[in-house]
Symmetry: C2
Subunit: 226 residues, 2 copies
């Protein structure tokens, strides 16, 4: 990895056209050729960047006050032109391959927990299966309620309007299956946006708020994902 601090202008031409006027910025060049241009603030997104894999060509500056011009191009034909006026810092570092991030607490985990605790949806409920296959994608959980009726459950960390649309498409399809119909729908999430709740209600879809900590408290270690 190369890290430099330089006074520069930047021009991106690709999915859109964008320009950075001259200023002092941090430039990170990674081993895979990707380039990040960072300002001294503004969270993790760079002002401008080029995604790997890409090639960097360095040429001498044309104007008197240009030190060098970098042309970075990737496979998709997008280009990033960095015109460097002054290099204030430059260093090279060996990092090696990263062992990578270990995560917990995402939707897959919520699904595993709820699959093991379907009684949270209603007494006497049974799980038919997780990832119930349909032509337009898998339904997170397919259950039968105490009276034996089929229920499709869509699980989200935060349920928004598109989650309701997704479940609606599943229900439309599932209700055409005479072996399954009538199929009810449940939207289960840690957090349900008001608009999503309204739309769900309008379509006869029940909303259930999941308490992740409580569910983890009842967790059976044998069914744990991690």
């Amino acid at each position: 990895m190369r890290f430099l601090v330089a006074r520069c202008r930047v021009d991106y031409v690709g999915r859109l056209t964008a320009h950075l006027p001259e200023a002092t910025r941090a430039i990170m060049v990674k081993a895979d050729g990707s380039v990040l241009i960072h300002a001294d603030g503004g969270s993790y997104k760079p002002l401008n960047w080029m995604s790997p894999p890409c090639a960097i060509r360095v040429s001498p500056g044309e104007a008197d006050d240009d030190v060098e011009v970098w042309t970075v191009e990737n496979k998709a034909g997008e280009t990033l032109v960095i015109t460097i006026h002054e290099i204030l810092h430059s260093s090279e570092h060996e990092l090696g391959v990263d062992p990578g991030l270990v995560k917990d607490g995402v939707e897959a985990h919520l699904q595993a927990l709820l699959a093991a605790q379907v009684e949270r949806l209603g007494e006497g409920w049974r799980l038919l299966r997780r990832e119930w296959p349909t032509a337009i994608g898998p339904v997170d959980l397919m259950c039968r309620d105490a009276s034996g009726l089929a229920v499709a459950v869509e699980i989200k960390r935060r349920a928004e309007i598109d989650g309701v649309e997704q479940l609606t498409r599943y229900l439309d399809l599932l209700n055409r299956d005479p072996l399954l119909a009538p199929v009810r729908g449940i939207l289960a999430a840690q957090e349900i946006k008001p608009q999503a709740r309204v739309l769900a209600q309008d379509r006869g879809i029940e909303c259930v708020v999941l308490d992740y900590d409580a569910m983890r408290g009842h967790d059976d270690p044998a069914t744990r994902l991690f």
Copy 2:
């Protein structure tokens, strides 16, 4: 801005729990207190990070081979603990405030261009207005075709299935208005995903692919956004 290269472990506890085992990584600390942990590859997203505003507390390491432990905490109570084993590089840089990025070619520009060239949708078409207000949000363009029928146009850079859903909701609503009904729908985009095209067709929504360069060629500078 401070930039360092260090052998470190990282633990994030917040919206989820995540852990980075010991390895050599690049650490960027910005003026606003935000911290980015980068590997030597993998595009612009850091392996781990903390968004501003946040406070950094540095304490001596407890184990023999820990140089120091950074505890970064933000307003939301999320924490990032960086256990540093060895510092391989450290430098400090003054960048100043960045003038910021200038963009072109986004959806707003597409909308402005198409509004000025509604004849691309059909001969004799008229624009009623951009951002036609409805109870569930504005319709990008509302037009009348040559025969005087109303047409709602949804504009996207890349049209996917959610764009069809969005337009469908608008059409459902608009068709309840006796002054407007019947209202047709058009999905206009630089690129239309196959699934979106199929769903649109199924719902009687017409798809139009926009040629951005051709539209810009016919651009009237007076109506230009930038």
